[in-house]
Every structure is written in structure tokens, then in C-alpha cells.
């Protein structure tokens, strides 16, 4: 646990192409940013070099937080471990049958997601529990031993166990775990109730199967990383970013790597909550526009919305993650004219290889980035801070050929059309994310980051009537920065179905206490001092008969005789907010109990900027350029500013462009950007 003021905090975010390294001096608040290719050798070199630039020894590094995509990649590339599954007799095909839905309903050749464990490695044992957890048929232990023999013979070394109703009673799964440990100590074992103690057997099976599938690979990777860091003199614990936006120690992560799968967008989401809190913005939408996709999340009062279930390539996961919606549109999205003459953008992307036409790496498809370049919004001489050469002439040529020509438009209209299509598409998606949660986008600020976010944010905001855009410091490395603000976090859930009015408080407290005991052990293991521990109870509730539940904070007030009424009234209120209506006279039920254990990490503060006047210093103005704005047409002398040279209090009236190595911010006419004390830019619509 970092004390908060002595050393350096390091955030390491590995992306597909680049790794971002952020080093924050806890004492001065100085921030150093590095980008390095994501190849393993360069990566280590980069981390070390990054740290060496600010400190001569690793012993001044107080905390390293690492966001890893190793587990995700093993899953996406289907390069996981040969995994096996033990399940209740009669149910080995649950994983194959799934929920039997056809997501593409007119597609007569629709295929379901392929199970990660083939049928031959899904073995059944005789045992059965009922929905209350009572034993209907005892576990046949000899059959478990037979499974071991079969797995050994087949070379299956990572084993998932998922029994019917194990969320209600874990005894049979635990016993199978013991037998496996005795008979097959070389194997790693994942028990479903450990990974997700929630009902719905297919979803739980899928969750524990993915865990088993990626676990040995993540384990090796993290062990290797620990060794490397140790060798370099790092003396503290390594923390790993979780999908929930929290961090966990390596030891805990190794048991449940499935909870790191979606950690990619989590850093940015935590950063969104942190920066909006800092700037006193109660409601924020995180808008992270990268090369192939745009991730949207919502933060209210400094808390990122979390979801407790999601899917990855249609494989369900019962693991909490920051509630991020991914839209298939980004800088690399391809613009194309279909056979009937309509202009489309995406969902196909040119990715990093070959990338947009302007990269001159063989790309022939016009992308959003090419359109931005043709319209003067991007500076061809300042890609990655000038480290990458680009060819606007190639963009223009392909744009004429692929879009302008077929549509009989001039080049400018074609490029502007591409941006308009992509901006409105993103705006509709942002709206869907908010209205689905009963929120109105107009009450939010848009926090824009990622390479392309600040370039598109004002146009997207205008479409949604969002009056404020916030471009944080280091928008290009914002995920790595966000990780430094993550608390240690562990989530526990327990499906417990009961009518709210039919359960006594002691029964619930007993269950919460048992979750808290487990959580306390984990925090203990991570050396979190008692005064830094927080346990947050909540319950998933719904009206009797409804399917979708609402997560309701569970009161701590022990001895409150009115606790049921209070809980229900909080539920009605949240239901109304989320769904637009409530029915206070209807009976409610509790579905899941949830406990979030938090180990508070002291938030580092960024150094404040020197104060300047309303007008930026002359040296901040890099020059002028011809830039196209839909409302103005070509604006010949658009001022171009260097972000690093702006001071607190500077105001920039649109049209203007602000450049920095990792990103470009476009301030359209009618908007004004103000630099805050912390260096964030608040761009507001005039009037």
C-alpha cells in the first residue's frame, strides 16, 4: 500500500500496438508520459526506461498498477489452455445449448458461440442439490476420481467445476475441489461459486470455463512479470487492473483472471469519474474514441456505473465490470459507398495495420482519420508528436476515388459527410447508453479522451445538446493515468432469492458477514490496513415476477426495525430513476446479495498549472492553418495551440485547434475552451 507522498506511482497500460506508461511523482504531482511498442522486449525496456527517467532506483516506486490484455488475447485468439469441466449428471450440454437464442434472427445459417470446453471434456458426476441448497442426491466421490483419471489421460490440466444450484450450497463443489487437489495436484481448479456465486447455470458455466481456459496463461505471465520487477529492485506489490475499475494484487488475480478480461476500458472510466469529481462536474459521460472503437461509460457523483453481467464475443460473464458500451466507430473506421449509393462509415476498421490511407502502409480504404486530415483538423506534421510521417495527398486521392467520385460530391463535402455520419452515429449510441439507464444526456458533460475523442467531442456533444466537453490532461494516455486512481476492489455476490417482507434481518446479516469475512481475508492478504478497508453492501432487487433487477444500497443500520420499508423505498426510487416508473404497492424480492470490499488508495494530486491571463501566451500559439468547419466552411487562419504551453485560466474561442503529442482537440465556432487549474480543458457552448 502506497503511503501517498513518498515515491512514484506507475501506471502501465498495454494496448494492441502501444504500451502507455504514466509516472506520477506523489510529492510534486508531476506527470511523465511514455509510449513504447507493445512487444515484450521493448515493453520491459520501456517500463524500466520510463521509471529511470524520473528516479535512479526502483526502490522509490511505491506502486505499480498494470492493465493487462494477456487473458483477453488468449480468449480472443482461442489460445487458452486445454480445459475440462465437471458438472451435474444430466447437464453437460448446458454449455452447448446455451440460451438457444438466435441473435441474427433472419440468418438461417446462424451459429452459436463455440464452447471453450469440447463435449468430450465435459464430464458428469452423480450429485444433486435443490434450489434451496438441500442435498437431493449425495456426491459420488468415486465418479470424481474417475474424472481425474480421464483428465490425466487426456492431458487436461485446468479444470472448471460448475454444479446445478452451487450458488445456494457450495459443499459439493468444495468437496470436488478437495478431491482434485489430492488426486491431481498439478491441475489448476476453478470452482464456479468462487468465481461467480450467482444463479443461471449457463452463464456461470461460461464464466468459470473462461476462467479455467485463460488461467494458466495469465498465471505464467504475471509470475514472470513479478520476477522481472523483483530483479529490477521493485519491492512492493504489483497491482492488476480489474474489469470493475478496481485493482487487485497479483495473488488474487491469479485465482480469478476472468475478472481482468475487460480491464482495458476500466482505467479510462475510473479516470472519467476522478477528473469530473476534480472539476466539480456531478454527471459525466466518458467518451474514449480510439482507432477501431469508441467506449462510452457513465459516471454519477464520482462513481462509475458498474454492470454485473456482460458478454464477450457472445460468451456471457457473471463478473462485475465498468458499464462500458463499445461502439464500432473510431479513427480507423472505413467509409464506403454501398451498391445502392449510400454513404456508410464502419463497422469495418482499417485498424493499426494497414491503418488509414495516410499511414502509407498499404491501406487503400478511406477512414475517419483520413477525412480529418483532408479537412485540416489533423496536423500531418504532428502525428505522435511528429514521430510518424503521414501522407495527406494519399488520403485525398483515395477519398476522391472511393467516396467523392461515386457520390458525385466534391472532396470537402465527401470528407465532411464522413465526419457527420460518424459523429451522429456515435451520438445516437451515446444517447442509447444514457436513456437505457433512465438518464438524459443533456444533464451530462462529455469527458473526451483517446487519440480521436477530443477531435470529435464537440460535434457529438452538439448533436446531443450536451453543453460541456471536458478534455483531461493526457487524453492519449488517459487509461494509464486513470489506473493510478483505482482503489483496491473485490466484489462478492451470493444469489439468495427471497421476498423482501419474508426474510428476517439476521439471516441477511449472517450472509453479508460471511461475505465480509471472506473479503477481509483477501484484503488482509494484500496488507490493506484495517482503517483503509471499506465494505459496501447492496442487494439486487426487483418486483416479484420481474426479471431485471436493480442494485440497491443495503443499509448498515443494524437494529433498524423499519429496514425493510427503507430498503424498499430506496428500491422504488432507483426503479423510477432507471425505468421511469415504480409501483410502491407491489411486493418486492431480493435476488442477489452483493458485497464490495474496498482498500482505499490515497489519491495522488496532479501539480497545478501556473496561472495565466484569459488570452493565451503568445508562445502557446504555434501558428495558423486552414481548417474546415461545417458551420463556417474553410476557415483560412485557424489558430493552432500547443497544449503544453497553455496556462490555467486561458480561454480559447473557437474556431481553434489544440495539439499535443497524443491527441488533437478541435474547438468549433461557437464554443470556448477554458484551461482549469489542473490543466484540464473545459469547452463550453457559448451563450
Amino acid at each position: 500500500m502506497p503511503e501517498g507522498d513518498r515515491g512514484y506511482r506507475v501506471g502501465v497500460d498495454i494496448g494492441g500496438t502501444f504500451t502507455d506508461i504514466v509516472v506520477l511523482d506523489e510529492k510534486s504531482g508531476d506527470l511523465s508520459l511514455y509510449k513504447t511498442p507493445s512487444t515484450p522486449r521493448d515493453f520491459w525496456f520501456g517500463v524500466e526506461a520510463g521509471i529511470r527517467k524520473v528516479s535512479d532506483s526502483m526502490d522509490r516506486v511505491s506502486m505499480i498498477v498494470h492493465g493487462t490484455t494477456v487473458g483477453l488475447n488468449a480468449f480472443l485468439m482461442r489460445r487458452g489452455e486445454k480445459a475440462g469441466l465437471i458438472t451435474t449428471r444430466g447437464f453437460r450440454d448446458i454449455y452447448d445449448i446455451g440460451r438457444h437464442n438466435r441473435e441474427s434472427m433472419y440468418d438461417l445459417r446462424y451459429r452459436k458461440p463455440e464452447p471453450l470446453v469440447p463435449r468430450e471434456h465435459r464430464l458428469e458426476v452423480t450429485e444433486r442439490l435443490d434450489a434451496r441448497g438441500n442435498v437431493v442426491t449425495p456426491l459420488d466421490e468415486d465418479e470424481v476420481r474417475a474424472c481425474v483419471r480421464k483428465f490425466k489421460a487426456e492431458g487436461v490440466r485446468s479444470i472448471a467445476v460448475c454444479l446445478i444450484h452451487s450458488y445456494a450450497n457450495a459443499a459439493h463443489e468444495d468437496r470436488i475441489g478437495e478431491i482434485l487437489a489430492e488426486e491431481y495436484p498439478e491441475a489448476t481448479v476453478s470452482l464456479s461459486h468462487d468465481v461467480a456465486r450467482e444463479w443461471r447455470e449457463y452463464e456461470r458455466t461460461s464464466t468459470v470455463a473462461i476462467n479455467a481456459y485463460i488461467r494458466p496463461i495469465v498465471d505464467r505471465y504475471l509470475s514472470n512479470m513479478e520476477t522481472q520487477l523483483e530483479r529490477q529492485g521493485y519491492m512492493h506489490r504489483l497491482f492488476i487492473c480489474q474489469s470493475s475499475g478496481g485493482v487487485s494484487s497479483v495473488e488474487v488475480t491469479k485465482l480469478s483472471p476472468v475478472s481482468t478480461l475487460m480491464s482495458g476500458p476500466a482505467g479510462g472510466a475510473v479516470g472519467t469519474a476522478q477528473v469530473s469529481g476534480l472539476e466539480k462536474i456531478p454527471r459525466a459521460i466518458g467518451f474514449d474514441m480510439g482507432g477501431t472503437s469508441t467506449d462510452v461509460c457513465v459516471s454519477i457523483d464520482g462513481n462509475v456505473l458498474i454492470r454485473t453481467e456482460y458478454k464477450i464475443e457472445r460468451h456471457p460473464l457473471l463478473v462485475p465490470m465498468v458499464d462500458v458500451q463499445s461502439i464500432g466507430a473510431g479513427g480507423g473506421s472505413i467509409a464506403w459507398v454501398d451498391s445502392v449509393g449510400a454513404l456508410n462509415v464502419g463497422p469495418q476498421s482499417a485498424g493499426a495495420e494497414p491503418g488509414p490511407v495516410c499511414y502509407d502502409k498499404g491501406g487503400t480504404e478511406v477512414t475517419t482519420t483520413d477525412a480529418n486530415l483532408v479537412l485540416g483538423r489533423l496536423n500531418p506534421d504532428y502525428f505522435l508528436g511528429g514521430e510518424m510521417a503521414v501522407r495527406p495527398d494519399l488520403s485525398a486521392k483515395r477519398l476522391d476515388e472511393k467516396v467523392a467520385g461515386p457520390l458525385k460530391l466534391d472532396r470537402t463535402a465527401a470528407a465532411a459527410g464522413i465526419l457527420r455520419v460518424v459523429n451522429t452515429k456515435m451520438a445516437y449510441a451515446v444517447r442509447a447508453v444514457t436513456v437505457e439507464r433512465g438518464l438524459s444526456p443533456r444533464e451530462f458533460a462529455l469527458v473526451a479522451f483517446g487519440g480521436a475523442g477530443p477531435m470529435h467531442a464537440c460535434d457529438v456533444a452538439a448533436e446531443l445538446e450536451i453543453p460541456t466537453v471536458l478534455v483531461p490532461v493526457a487524453p492519449g494516455q488517459f487509461s494509464a493515468l486513470g489506473m493510478l486512481y483505482s482503489d483496491i476492489r473485490h466484489d462478492f455476490a451470493w444469489t439468495f432469492l427471497t421476498k423482501t417482507r419474508e426474510v428476517d434481518r439476521a439471516t441477511l446479516d449472517e450472509r453479508f458477514d460471511s461475505l465480509a469475512k471472506r473479503a477481509g481475508e483477501v484484503l488482509e492478504q494484500e496488507d490493506v490496513p484495517r482503517e483503509k478497508r471499506r465494505f459496501v453492501r447492496s442487494a439486487d432487487m426487483r418486483y416479484v415476477g420481474q426479471e431485471w433487477s436493480v442494485n440497491v444500497p443495503f443499509g448498515e443500520e443494524a437494529g433498524d426495525t423499519d429496514w425493510q420499508a427503507n430498503l424498499e423505498s430506496r428500491f422504488h426510487e432507483l426503479h423510477k430513476r432507471n425505468y421511469g416508473h415504480s409501483a410502491p404497492e407491489e411486493p418486492t424480492e431480493i435476488v442477489n446479495l452483493r458485497l464490495t470490499a474496498v482498500g482505499l488508495v490515497v489519491n495522488p494530486r496532479l501539480r497545478e498549472l501556473a496561472r495565466g491571463g484569459a488570452g493565451p501566451e503568445a508562445q502557446a500559439l504555434k501558428g495558423t492553418r486552414k481548417v474546415y468547419f461545417p458551420s463556417l466552411g474553410w476557415n483560412e487562419r485557424t489558430p493552432i495551440y500547443e497544449r503544453e504551453r497553455l496556462l490555467a485560466g486561458n480561454k480559447l474561442a473557437g474556431p481553434a485547434v489544440v495539439e499535443e503529442p497524443g491527441s488533437t482537440t478541435v474547438v468549433p465556432p461557437g464554443w470556448t475552451a477554458t484551461v482549469s487549474a489542473y490543466g484540464n480543458m473545459l469547452i463550453r457552448k457559448n451563450g
Partner: protein
């Protein structure tokens, strides 16, 4: 082209309209009270222009694709100028009002700009109950529509924003579980409200003329795309026949016949030759028939593209009134979906020879659902519970691979099963197995997909009954090009060691404690001669247990050859 419309605006407006339909869908899912809506997604939402043409639609069920615009047009036909801001109209009339069966109720709201009618938003959802002779209003054996529930003949539920209390009180009095119904109806109203507001915002922003031009351009573009795909298919006249399992009244199979005339970029489906309407709930009205044809047309032209009126302009559907596929009042229609699937299958079979990459062989082709309801006497006092869900089955093999197993039928889409753990927590049932059904896939060079076996042990001694809707119990999914048929759907109850078979169409069959209910969905048809199947694939099937060694020996001559 009018001033203001350009290619980019067209794309922006058409994306917006799809987003409106989508937001309406999200509203319904978020606010509905019944699992059949939020879980089974038995509903759809759509946006329409002022002439009632479908502009954008979302649907959870494929079969809902082609019916909502009929409901909107029925509203136009009946009310014409008598439509006002704040009006909300209900219809479930299968004969005149764009309905399918009585449970599916369309809620239609006109949208105005500057006092002029400019479009409609609508949603259709399966109401859990609409009155009639049995709970849930699902039955197989009605003899006239009146037994099936309330028919709403295109009536206003709201007039100029004010609720029509007479109608709402009448519905409340006739519908079982009116509280749940109010929640679901509320969800539909909320969706209309959201849709109306969003569409009005769009009209205000771009002006009605520009929006209408954009809509025209979008529909025309979709039409061109559909026609392009149709033109790529060989012209000709193709015949297809399929049969419903024997009629409960006469005992003979019910013929569904189609002649498809594909000429250039147009296609006509003529169902002349189909049997007269049955005297049971197995009938389809014209609107449902067209809907079924539209599902197939989407599947063979552009299954992943947006759906609007333009998709359907090349399609003509003919059927003599009074037939099982164009039933007239008062023919009952509760099981319309089963007839629609036979109509789709007849056309599917007809086209299987001529579609460029080939349609898959036939699939298990039925909802294969169970509705189980009654009293759980394990609780004190005993409690009424109900559970209804469809089952997935085997799909047909294609010219390049085996068919998929355990998927819902063609008329359904994103419809999910109920997890075993939830079934048992809520119902006096224990699921003893839920697995793929060995040997159910039709043999072929490529094998049909497998159905499932779902088995329940009844644990209550209270009054408890089940209605089953499993068609294709007599005629299995068809194989193609030498591939053999799959195995039929089957529902049985085992009581005191004796098996009661043939329950696939029973209404409110009384169950007893200790009964074992086995619902087996059928397998898909095979593709190509089984003797051409790769021996390694046969060995793999046997090893994995998809095919038993005995069946492999019989169907594929496996292990018996030289």
C-alpha cells in the same frame, strides 16, 4: 430532390429513425412486467411514415417483422382524418386489423408536426392473457375465434391524450392478472411516448419535407438492394408442399402448398392449393402469412441489413380466402405460428433448389413450447405458479457443414430459454436432464443439428396442468439433396412406469405428482447422401456421442464396410 436533402442527411436521418425504433425497444424491455416480453422478447417496435409504410423496425421475433405496418394501415383505413395528437389506437384483429393471434396487440400512435399527420410509431407485444377459455389464452382446440379471447377491432385507447376509460375498464375486467397486463401495456405506451417525442424532434429539426424525402430515398435504396439480390437468382416457377400434423378434428394432415414465381426482380408466392381452414386453433390469416413470407425473403436477400418497407416491395403473396393460410372470421387462430412455419417451410423447400449458396435443409420447425401452470402444494399456503418457454431444436445441414443444434425456430429470434436454476426456484418441478438428443440429426453428407431433451419431474400434488405446442410430431425436418429427414418433436409423460405419448398438442393436460414430463425437440435435416460423409466425421460424431454406434452403423454403414 427537394432542397435540404442530400446523401449525408439521408444517412443521418435513416440512422436516427433506426435509433428511434431501438430506443422504443429498450423502453419496452426496461419497463415490461412479463417475462414473455422482456425475456422472450415477444414484441416489436417500429416507425412509419404518414402513409403507414414501415421506415425502421426492431423485433425480438422474426415473425413480427411483417405485421406492424398492417396494423398502422388498418388505423389509417378506419380513422383517416379522425386522428389527433395524443391518440393511441389498439388492434389485435387478425382478419382486418393486421393481427396474428389475439395475444399480440399493436399499440399505434400518430405523430404530428405543426398540426399535420406526419407519421406513426407503434409497438406490438404478446399480452400474457387476453381472456377466453383458458389461462394465458393459448390453446390448440378452439372452434371459433370468440373462445380465444377479446378481439380489439382497431379502437382508440387514448383520444387526444385522454384515456378511454370504458375500453380500459373492459380490458381490466376481462384479462386474467390485470396488474401484470397494466405493466406491459404501460411499457408499450411508454415506448410510443418516447418514439413520438423523438420523431417530433426530428421533424422539427429538419422539416417534414426533408425527412420525407430522406425516408423515400432510404426505402428506395433498400428496395434496389433487395431487387439486386433477387435478380441474381434464376427465374422460374418453383413448387413446395408441406403438411401440418394431422388435424385434431378430421385426423388427416393439413396441406400447405405454394407456387413461387420468380421473374427478374419480383417474386410472387401463391398458396393456392392449400387446405381449407381447420376447425381448430391451427389457422393463419393473410397478414401472418405475408409476415412469414417476408421472413424468408429477408433470409434469402439481406439477413443482416436494415428492415423497412423497401425490402418488401418486390413481394406479392396470394392465397384464396378460407384456406388454412388465409382464414376468415370466425376461424380460430391461436396457433397461427405453427401454420406460418409450415408456409415458410413449403416456400423454403421450393427455393432450396435455386438459391445461389443453397438454403439449409429443414429445421425442427416448431415452437416446441410448454406452458405449465398450477398450484404448488409444497408451500403453505399453496401458491399458484406458471412457467412457459419455447425449446430450441436442430437446424438443417448446409452444403458445407453440419446443422447447428439447439436453436429456436425460424419465426423466433433472440428468444431465450429459462435457466434450470430459475425454473426450479419458482416452480414445483425438478429438471432431471437437459441435454442434446443423440441420433436426432438427419443423416447426410452433412448431418442435421441435434434437438434437445428436457425432462421435468412434477413435485406438486396440487392441481397442475400443461399445454404443449410441439408441431412436426408426425413429419420431421426435411433433408435435402439425398440427406435424410431429422427426428420428429415428441412430448411424453411417464406415470407409474407407463408412457403417455403424443402430447405435443394437448391443452391443459393434468399432471400428477411424480410424473416425468419429457419434451424432446426434433433434429434438423441432413444435406447430401450419408454415404458421402467423411468417415472421420462419423467417427468423431460417435466418439462425442452425437450419433450412437448403432445409428452410425445403420445410417452411415459405419464399421460395416470393407
Amino acid at each position: 430532390m427537394a432542397r435540404g436533402r442530400d446523401l449525408v442527411t439521408t444517412e443521418v436521418v435513416s440512422n436516427y429513425l433506426v435509433a428511434v425504433a431501438d430506443e422504443m425497444k429498450r423502453t419496452v424491455v426496461r419497463t415490461a412486467m412479463s417475462p414473455v416480453i422482456y425475456e422472450v422478447l415477444d414484441f416489436s417496435t417500429g416507425v412509419f411514415d404518414r402513409r403507414g409504410r414501415l421506415v425502421a423496425q426492431t423485433a425480438g421475433l422474426a415473425i413480427f417483422l411483417g405485421t406492424l405496418d398492417w396494423a398502422v394501415q388498418a388505423v389509417l383505413k378506419k380513422f383517416g382524418d379522425d386522428l389527433h395528437p395524443g391518440d393511441v389506437i389498439l388492434t389485435n384483429d387478425p382478419y382486418e386489423g393486421g393481427g396474428t393471434h389475439l395475444n399480440d396487440v399493436s399499440v399505434v400512435a400518430p405523430v404530428f408536426d405543426a398540426g399535420r399527420l406526419r407519421g406513426f410509431v407503434a409497438s406490438r407485444a404478446h399480452w400474457m392473457d387476453i381472456g377466453g377459455q383458458v389461462p394465458l389464452s393459448v390453446m390448440t382446440n378452439a372452434t371459433e375465434i370468440h373462445q380465444e379471447g377479446l378481439l380489439l377491432p382497431v379502437v382508440k385507447a387514448y383520444e387526444r391524450g385522454r384515456p378511454n376509460r370504458q375500453l380500459i375498464d373492459t380490458l381490466t375486467a376481462n384479462i386474467r392478472q390485470p396488474e401484470t397486463w397494466k405493466g406491459d401495456f404501460g411499457a408499450q405506451l411508454a415506448a410510443c411516448h418516447v418514439g413520438r417525442r423523438r420523431l417530433a424532434e426530428l421533424l422539427a429539426r429538419y422539416g417534414p419535407e426533408v425527412v420525407e424525402d430522406c425516408i423515400d430515398a432510404t426505402l428506395d435504396a433498400t428496395e434496389r438492394l433487395t431487387r439486386e439480390r433477387l435478380e441474381a437468382m434464376p427465374d422460374g416457377r418453383y413448387r413446395g408442399v408441406d403438411f401440418l400434423d394431422s388435424d385434431t378434428v378430421t385426423g388427416s394432415p393439413v396441406r400447405v402448398e405454394v407456387a413461387i414465381e420468380k421473374s427478374g426482380a419480383d417474386v410472387t408466392l401463391d398458396f393456392t392449393g392449400s387446405a381449407p381452414a381447420t376447425k381448430s386453433s391451427y389457422n393463419l390469416t393473410y397478414c401472418g402469412l405475408v409476415s412469414g413470407c417476408r421472413v424468408l425473403l429477408r433470409a434469402i436477400t439481406d439477413p443482416h441489413g436494415p428492415t423497412n418497407d423497401g425490402c418488401f416491395r418486390p413481394l406479392t403473396v396470394k392465397a384464396p380466402p378460407g384456406t388454412v393460410v388465409n382464414a376468415t372470421k370466425p376461424s380460430p387462430v391461436a396457433m397461427y405460428g405453427e401454420v406460418a412455419r409450415r408456409a415458410i417451410d413449403a416456400a423454403w423447400r421450393a427455393l432450396s433448389e435455386v438459391i445461389p449458396q443453397g438454403l439449409p435443409a429443414g429445421h425442427f420447425g416448431t415452437i416446441c413450447g410448454q406452458c405449465m401452470a398450477g398450484w404448488d402444494d409444497r408451500l403453505a399456503p399453496s401458491r399458484y405458479t406458471s412457467f412457459s418457454a419455447p425449446n430450441g431444436g436442430g437446424w438443417g445441414a448446409t452444403p458445407d457443414r453440419d446443422g447447428e443444434s439447439a436453436l429456436v425456430c425460424v419465426s423466433n429470434g433472440d428468444t431465450r430459454n429459462t435457466p434450470v436454476e430459475i425454473i426450479e426456484a419458482r416452480n414445483p418441478l425438478m429438471v432431471t436432464r437437459y441435454e442434446l438428443r443423440t441420433d436426432s440429426g438427419g443423416p447426410g453428407k452433412y448431418r442435421g443439428g441435434l434437438g434437445t431433451t428436457l425432462e421435468f419431474l412434477v413435485e406438486t400434488g396440487g392441481q397442475y396442468a400443461a399445454t404443449f405446442a410441439a408441431g412436426r410430431a408426425e413429419r420431421a425436418a426435411f433433408g435435402l439433396h439425398g440427406g435424410r429427414d431429422g427426428v420428429t418433436n415428441r412430448v411424453t409423460v411417464t406415470r407409474d412406469g407407463k408412457t403417455i405419448a403424443g402430447l405435443g398438442r394437448s391443452t391443459a393436460f393434468l399432471l400428477e405428482k411424480g410424473d416425468l414430463v419429457t419434451v424432446e425437440s426434433g433434429g434438423g435435416g441432413g444435406w447430401g447422401d450419408p454415404r458421402e460423409r467423411d468417415p472421420r466425421a462419423i467417427a468423431e460424431d460417435v466418439r462425442l456421442g452425437y450419433v450412437s454406434p448403432e445409428a452410425a452403423a445403420g445410417d452411415y454403414e459405419w464399421g460395416t464396410g470393407p
